[in-house]
């Protein structure tokens, strides 16, 4: 895979960031400590360079119909400026990627945001389908030309409002507005991946310095904190919590049934999901609270006595609650909240309890 450097690479390097390869992009893993960055987002506000995310633009008379065929949620519900979380499936109903679809507020067309390294593949998928269906739509992978950053946390509204030419405080969740930041045209959306209020901002890659600098003074955060934040919020990571090769999962197993609209006309994977919905899934994703001093990491076995009943896909030490948390798939009979299971950590079994994967809600309720 080609290694891309984000336009802000040098800026981050000067700020003392450690870098990591993620989906073919060399991105900041951390600027300070994960705890510091995580805490800033939970308590105040943090900013993230997320230019590794892909951007694909779909235009033309059949743009909505095409996107509707290739995603699980109903694109036709989107008014200008609306955004929607959705999944892209193969014919077997297995998730290829999860995306956010934006309908442009100020012009025709849609922008969708696949995960790092998936832009080209998804643009090709859209083009091929348009050709097969004889749909009138143009598809463009704009990942290289597009910059993206996230400003997240309880103080994010104040922070973003203070730099945008138009007010964005009134935007509701999953809506976006076109405005300017220091003269740069930006799409500002009330979306995020941290479990906090906040915005994701899309702009021309060439203007990255200007937009990033507009938020100077706000804690910069790397992918390390992005991972602990999303995990506490129970949000899945493409390529890890589901992946067509290493972790093939349907939205029903992955707890993403809420983005599958069975009412809409044909979409890729619908028939397979329909069948699965009737027979029921064998395994499903759960949240796990680890009751011992160990982190349950990706790939570790989940057990009931001597039986292996599942495996961990993501795990971390929760900086907010100071307990280890994990996501994993287990046989459905073990998926009820409160089920006591084990996780194999370095040849020892540690106790784990199944809890609602939206740990931020669940665990706050406990304390």
């Amino acid at each position: 895979m080609t290694s891309h450097k984000p336009p802000l690479y040098r800026t981050h390097r000067s700020a003392g960031a450690d870098f990591t390869d993620f989906g073919g992009w060399e991105m900041p893993a951390s600027f300070d400590s994960i705890r510091t960055e995580h805490g800033a987002v939970r308590d105040a506000v943090g900013r993230f360079d997320i230019s590794h995310m892909s951007e694909v633009v779909v235009r033309g008379p059949d743009a909505a119909a095409l996107t509707n065929r290739l995603t699980t949620n109903d694109v036709r519900e989107l008014e200008p400026g609306d955004a929607q979380y959705s999944c892209i499936l193969n014919d077997e109903g297995v998730i290829l990627d999860d995306i956010v679809v934006y309908r442009y507020p100020e012009r025709d067309g849609y922008l969708f945001v696949p995960n790092a390294g998936h832009g080209e593949q998804m643009a090709t998928r859209w083009e091929e389908r348009a050709s097969t269906l004889e749909f009138d739509a143009t598809v463009e992978d704009r990942t290289e030309e597009t910059g993206m950053l996230a400003v997240q946390g309880p103080d994010a509204v104040e922070a973003v409002e203070s730099v945008t030419a138009d007010s964005v405080a009134d935007l509701s969740q999953f809506t976006a507005r076109r405005t300017e930041i220091d003269g740069v045209s930006c799409l500002v959306a009330r979306t995020g991946y941290t479990g906090e209020d906040g915005y994701e901002i899309v702009f021309p890659a060439a203007d990255s310095e200007t937009v990033w600098a507009a938020f100077d003074g706000i804690q910069p955060c790397g992918l390390g904190a992005r991972d602990t934040l999303r995990l506490e919020a129970g949000l899945l990571l493409s390529g890890q919590d589901f992946d067509p090769d290493s972790e093939p999962r349907t939205p029903l197993e992955a707890g993403l049934g809420f983005v599958v609209d069975f009412e809409k006309p044909s979409f890729v994977g619908k028939a397979a999901l329909r069948e699965l919905e009737e027979t029921g899934v064998d395994e499903q994703i759960v949240g796990l609270r680890i009751e011992d001093r160990a982190i349950a990491r990706h790939g570790y076995a989940i057990t009931d006595g001597d039986d292996e009943v599942g495996h961990v896909t993501s795990g971390t030490m929760s900086p907010t609650f100071d307990v280890p948390l994990a996501l994993g798939y287990v046989d459905t009979e073990y998926a009820a909240d409160g089920t006591e299971l084990g996780v194999e950590v370095r040849n020892q079994t540690v106790d784990a309890t199944v809890v609602d994967q939206r740990f931020l809600n669940t665990l706050e309720a406990d304390t």
């Binding site: 994960i34 001093r293 982190i295 990491r297 030490m317 280890p324």
Partner: protein, 127 residues
Amino acid sequence: MSFNVPDDRRYRESHEWALPTDDGIRVGITDFAQDELGDVVFVELPDEGDSVAQDEEFGVVESIKAVSDLYAPVGGEVLAVNEALFDSPELVNDDPFGEGWMLEIEGADETELEELLSADEYEDQIA
């Protein structure tokens, strides 16, 4: 980035340090190691009275992003473990050569200490 490498002690290539004290040999991990690991969240150590052999695993240090085995720079009997690390593992990040120490080992063979790297040699290794 430059790391602190005090010259009052010796080092193992795997980033543990060994410092002779009045009672025995104190063991911990280096500034470089704690920086590589990031936020340390758990430290698993042997019990007092256990014996450890040079170059063998004596415990585990776990950070948010990684888990790493700890190797004994010298062998002997565990005289003391730093129990403060069980409640405050972040001491390993904050003060790796001081408050973040892990074990005190007694009865170590003098030659084992000499086999370890000097501060200069270790500094070259991490440069």
